[in-house]
């Protein structure tokens, strides 16, 4: 494995345990997702890989090198799309990508050609020569991705790469992530957007309160949900939301929407109940489908606030 994280714990001075025995590994040519709600300890882990934070215990190795002892090696080996916006206020997108590529050791002509390729592939050409301080958050995120991908490290770390990005360009971004993987980089993808992660990752870990709650392929994590269906209801505005029947498990309220898990034998009852609500004008629409990685995520995390209504269903 190219990136190996073993039993990493990070306890801050005030006793806050941001990471608690985290172990995971990412191989070359693999996209590994790290999923968890806000404050789960994802960015803390990234900052430890990059040598910005020192773990309280545990080891981090990149290609066999202990990067806790040699953080300079980590910065050479990893390219990072940080969660924070990149400081490119006075730079155009192309200048920023070029400088990031050259700082990573790329040759000028090659870096420029690759920068133009990335700009074209992500369809951000119309802003290529615009300064960072005039751009929207989504375009800045894409520029930041390009800066990490122009001369990719052997490990590429993408921390919430799709935040603020429009749905069409998200698809283009995922294509580029796959291209990075195919070129042999180990991609560590940090996100709280479960739906996107399910399509993009080869393996993933679900993390909350600093601990890894489960890891494996999306299919293996969903095994527990086999035989269950997911019922999603969209309520009419101002409608009084009724209590769910007993056969709807783990119903969670996301404002104007509710999601519940239904076992196979209760599907007919669930459809009848939802249809009645629709006819009585409480529910605008409902869908019943196979359970998803999101359901596994909710089961493992076990609390409603883990789902971010803002990114839910972004695709």
């Amino acid at each position: 494995m190219l990136l190996e994280i073993e039993d990493i714990s990070k306890v801050y001075r005030k006793g806050i345990r941001a990471n608690d025995g985290v172990s995971l590994s990412v191989g070359a040519g693999e996209v590994f997702g790290l999923l968890g709600p806000n404050g789960a300890g994802k960015t803390t882990l990234v900052n430890q890989i990059m040598g910005l934070l020192k773990p309280t215990s545990g080891t981090i190795r990149i290609d066999g090198t202990d990067v806790i002892a040699d953080p300079g090696f980590a910065r050479q080996a990893c390219s990072l799309q940080a969660q924070v916006q990149v400081p490119i206020e006075g730079l155009t997108i192309l200048q920023a990508i070029e400088l990031a590529g050259r700082v990573r050791g790329g040759r000028k002509a090659e870096v420029l050609a690759r920068a133009r390729e990335l700009v074209d592939n992500l369809d951000i050409g119309e802003w290529a020569n615009k300064r960072g301080d005039t751009l929207s958050g989504g375009v800045l995120r894409l520029a930041s991705f390009c800066m990490a991908a122009v001369v990719p490290g052997r490990v590429v770390i993408l921390d919430e790469p799709t935040n603020d990005v429009d749905p069409l360009r998200r698809r283009l971004l995922w294509q580029e992530v796959r291209a990075l993987k195919e070129s042999g980089s180990a991609v560590l993808l940090i996100t709280h957007n479960v739906l996107e992660a399910e399509r993009a990752v080869d393996r993933l870990a679900i993390i909350d309160m600093g601990k890894v709650l489960g890891q494996g392929t999306p299919a293996s994590l969903k095994e527990h949900e086999a035989g269950f269906m997911r019922l999603e209801l969209v309520f009419e505005p101002m409608a009084k939301i009724p209590a769910p029947p007993e056969f709807i498990n783990k119903a969670i309220d996301l404002g104007s929407r509710s999601i519940g898990i239904v076992s196979a034998q209760d599907v007919c009852g669930a459809i009848d109940w939802a249809s009645e609500l629709r006819e009585s004008g409480i529910v605008e629409e409902f869908t019943l489908g196979p359970s998803s990685l999101e359901d596994a995520y909710i089961r493992l995390i076990g609390r409603e606030e883990a789902i971010d209504p803002g990114t839910e269903g972004a695709q």
């Binding site: 900052n47 910005l52 934070l53 300079g72 924070v84 490119i88 006075g90 400088l99 990573r104 050791g105």
Partner: protein
């Protein structure tokens, strides 16, 4: 060394381009501060003679350079720390000294025109002539580096960015009123004069004034040593603070 220089030049380009939208404004403000200082002296002391005006105006470069280091640098660093910018900068595969050197270079570029303008307008307005020694260049660089290093050390070593701003305000007040930059050290009470014997500010003013007027201070070696020690000390604290992993 070649690699360091290559990376320094890239970070310098990054910083120059990053500051490009604000650069003209910085230059104008610095020029206005310089001109304002020269004109303001005339209001403060209406019948000032050329000798006194020369004394005050040759102290202005130190004051301008210290304001950059102790006010502008902490402000910018505090904003960047709050925005998390350094989490990105420090994750780049370049030595942190490259970034700090590039940032310092940008501040020097911003400051030089204002300092020269203050001296030119001051000498013309108050009819005195300067006798500039080549030693002014190393003195200028040493004063700038020391001021900026103290600013960086304060910004990176103080745990909260808000606290940095407060420390910066107190320090500026102390330098403006209680530091013998624009008056002789003998005018201070004994204990404060003794304190200034180990602080860099009075030595900075002595060196700058001496090499601008052709009368180098008699204890130039001591002055260089004290300012140099502060420069090394503040740079050391800065390097320790930016390299430290929390």
């Amino acid at each position: 060394m070649g690699r360091w220089l290559r990376e320094y030049s890239l970070m310098l380009k990054w910083q120059m381009l990053s500051n490009k939208p604000m650069l003209p404004l910085y230059l104008v403000v610095e020029a206005l501060v310089a001109v304002g200082f020269v004109v303001g002296i005339g209001y403060l002391i209406p019948d000032i003679n050329s000798q006194s005006a020369m004394y005050l105006i040759t102290g202005a470069p130190v004051l301008i350079l210290l304001m950059i280091g102790l006010v502008m640098v902490p402000q910018m660093v505090s904003l960047a720390r709050k925005a998390g910018t350094f989490d990105y900068i420090w994750s780049l595969p370049v030595p942190r000294s490259c970034f700090l050197a590039a940032d310092t270079t940008v501040w020097i570029v911003i400051t030089v025109p204002g300092v020269i303008l203050a001296l030119l307008i001051g000498s013309w307005h108050y009819s005195f002539s300067l006798n500039v020694s080549p030693f002014v260049v190393p003195v200028f660089l040493l004063v700038t580096l020391t001021g900026i290093s103290i600013g960086y050390a304060m910004s990176h070593a103080v745990p909260k960015p808000e606290l940095t701003m407060l420390v910066s305000q107190v320090l500026v007040f102390f330098i403006l009123i209680f530091s013998p930059i624009h008056y002789p050290i003998e005018q201070l009470p004994g204990w404060l004069a003794s304190t200034h014997r180990v602080l860099p500010f009075t030595y900075m003013a002595d060196l700058m004034r001496g090499y601008l007027t052709g009368k180098p201070p008699v204890d130039a070696g001591l002055a260089f040593a004290v300012v140099g020690t502060w420069c090394v000390l503040a740079s050391g604290i800065t390097f320790f603070a930016v390299k430290r992993r929390r």
